[in-house]
Symmetry: C2
Subunit: 100 residues, 2 copies
């Protein structure tokens, strides 16, 4: 299982994907979301499993607050995404975050 990060993992090939696990620190993920939005005006947060989705949503609440201080209002559209891990296909939740 190489999807479990205690700190958020940014996919540098895309620059906008943040992978979150159930053990990710909320504040670290929130900072990553805010940073990616400031740099790219678009962020995607990927989470697999209830604990990870919960961390992702809590981080998004915090990030929304940080960005509001900068005058950036964001909204999110969640999607399902199929992710292959160790040759098994799992369904991830992807939170697609864009400025309004």
């Amino acid at each position: 299982m190489d999807t479990s990060f205690s700190v958020p993992h940014t996919n540098h090939s895309q620059g906008t994907m943040i992978k979150v696990s159930a053990t990710s620190r909320t504040s670290a993920v929130a900072g990553a979301i805010a940073g990616v939005i400031r740099d790219h005006k678009h962020a995607e947060v990927q989470a697999i499993g209830a604990g990870a989705v919960n961390q992702a949503v809590k981080a998004l609440v915090l990030a929304t607050g940080y960005l509001k201080l900068d005058g950036i209002e964001v909204a999110c559209t969640p999607e399902f995404a199929d992710v292959t891990i160790d040759d098994k296909v799992r369904t991830a939740i992807k939170l697609v975050i864009d400025p309004q």
Copy 2:
């Protein structure tokens, strides 16, 4: 604990609040979200705990698909909300859903 619903519970005093638990059926919650958005152009989904938040987000993915078929694009802003249950204050996640 009177917040655990196996089907989504709409608060008729507001008309737009849907309470979701970890055991809520995703498709039932999704139908409720889509119905409330069609009727009120605004919906709020409240969830306490990781399992409930996960159900709420999955339901929102489905509801977003249903509404897109009607030509309605929605986006969500998550917030924290303090909820008092049995004299104890718990932190809920509230997904605020509006058409774009």
